[in-house]
């Protein structure tokens, strides 16, 4: 059923039980580390539906409170930057109707998004995508995040805490790039840190840490997010270890809804054939062994 299109004011709209489209009001903004910003947004329909591993598609320019309260049916949007940006749902407080994103400032869009102030309104569609799920038969979840890859794992740690034991491996180049350790601990997860320069925790890549923990007997379902080279290593290691692994993938998104075929990752089907999969709709979470790393 279609929710009615409301032409006035800041009323958000739910799209056929799946995702909502509308304005998220910025409730809090913090910089957990230089170059990283965490925003807490009030948008009940998104927060209530959010599952770990899903994402929101956000127009990266804050509209300001005035814009949100104005009589405009759709808030005035700029033409540049043109596209929305995808961000993982980092956290969700379903009872308060709020969710969070955590992002790294890297380009035009995130630079603008970093300028939001509390009270600004952001144009959001979400939650989108499939989200993480754990196959039965494992009582432990192993979360692995490289750099900003930890963003989707915090909600995963919280949500899986009820049903699983959660171990988190957080990697970064230096201690400055290691994010969210407190959040994982607050969620009751056991946390291991790796830094490439050895400035914090294990000295080496997070995949090296992973191998070392595996050799100490760690077992569980792997949910990982990070740069492609890291993912490929995780795929290889988990295959050797015989553990199920799932990735939250990144790609350049257009619509975010599965319509434009702009986001593509090559996957191997069970019959060995290859095809491009829509990361936004059939992902962003993909089974590790399905990804055809040669095609990326």
């Amino acid at each position: 059923m279609h929710a009615k299109t409301c032409r006035k004011g800041n009323i958000n709209r739910v799209m056929r039980d799946e995702a909502a489209i509308g304005l998220g009001i910025v409730k809090a903004r913090e910089e957990p580390a230089p170059g990283y910003v965490r925003l807490r947004l009030a948008f009940r329909a998104v927060a209530e539906r959010a599952r770990p591993g899903q994402f929101v598609h956000v127009y990266p320019v804050p509209l300001g409170l005035s814009a949100a309260s104005r009589d405009a049916p759709v808030p005035q949007r700029r033409l540049d930057p043109f596209l929305r940006r995808p961000f993982s749902i980092h956290d969700a407080d379903r009872s308060r109707g709020e969710f969070a994103i955590l992002f790294k400032i890297i380009g035009k869009g995130t630079r603008e998004l970093a300028e939001v102030r509390v009270g600004d309104a952001l144009d959001v569609i979400g939650p989108l995508g499939n989200g993480f799920s754990a196959p039965v038969g494992y009582d432990r979840i192993i979360l692995m995040g490289g750099g900003i890859g930890v963003a989707p794992l915090v909600l995963a740690a919280k949500d899986f805490a009820g049903s699983h034991r959660v171990v988190t491996l957080v990697g970064g180049r230096t201690a400055h790039d290691v994010l969210c350790v407190d959040d994982f601990e607050a969620a009751g997860a056991q946390v291991h840190v790796a830094t490439e320069d050895g400035s914090l925790g294990f000295a080496g890549q997070v995949t090296d840490l992973f191998e070392s923990l595996l050799s100490q007997g760690l077992r569980g379902v792997i949910l990982a997010c990070g740069p492609m080279p890291m993912m490929q290593k995780v795929a290889d290691i988990s295959q050797v270890a015989g553990l199920p692994a799932f990735f939250s993938l990144e790609d350049r998104f257009g619509c975010g809804l599965g319509a434009c075929l702009g986001c593509a990752v090559r996957v191997v089907e069970p019959d060995g054939s290859r095809r491009y999969m829509r990361v936004c709709k059939e992902g962003p979470v993909v089974e590790a062994q399905k990804v055809d790393f040669d095609g990326t």
Partner: protein, 319 residues
Amino acid sequence: MEPDTSVTICGIRMKNPVMAASGTFGYGREYGEVFDLSKMGAIVVKGTTLKPRMGNPPPRLAETPCGLLNSVGLENPGIDVFIERELPYLRGLGVPVIVNVAGETPEEYAEVSKRLDKAPGVAALEVNVSCPNVKKGGMAFGTDPEALKEVISSVRRSTSLPLITKLSPNVSDIGFLARVATNAGSDAISLINTLLGMAIDVNTMKPVLGAVFGGLSGPAVKPVALRMVWEVSSAVRVPVIGMGGITSGTDAVEFLLAGASAVAVGSATLVRPDACLEVVRGIWEFMKEKGVMTVGELVGAAKRKVDSGAGCPRGTRDF
């Protein structure tokens, strides 16, 4: 009295002159979850070929100033799967469905068109002549008048459905190609498809797109699209469907004033799923404000003003 936004293009009656542009609306399903598609003027589905196509390697999108590049590469499940799995859904929407047809040879275009000719629920075909013609060494049908004539003629022979030729903007003289298409039997012209472009990532020192080149769309191309609509609607007598960078009702009105009888919205939908409806509303509000009662009054109005003295024709302008 309220403005009447309905239009009829090659016999297709539309509630309003706003279509979803091919390739940005999939086969409709994804947007059907977001808003009521029956409010649209028409839906042009994604480019469909005889055989399934895998499409190009990622990345397939790159944002550019006020626009984007795409190199999707006509990924589609092939015409038979389309007819079997997608068309029934589309047919049920109560909106004219236009199928964007692509191919590598005139024969392939003709065969796809023939299969669609028999499929109920197709309002018209949009012949996409901007994809590469491997037979002819990568030269697109849309830029070579002979090849264009051949494709449109063979499609014409294989179907009695209304034919819309979608022209490529990467040409010197778009009006000439539009005449070639209509002489070969096209009932309407749609334009513009994307402008060939590219982006380079200075960090990796490589092209951003996996396919190196991609098609530029969005507000950045609007001035070029408007000019081509103006030229083509002067060169041919068939209806012109204008597109390229439309994000608002005002943009759409510009295309109508330049000579388009209808418009399509592409890239804007990627940002705002219901962009088409926003555009419809904007056109309606413009008509209301100006006391314009039918869309027809707007079509080509800017040209009539210039012809009556307020500007110079193409031959006399300088740069």
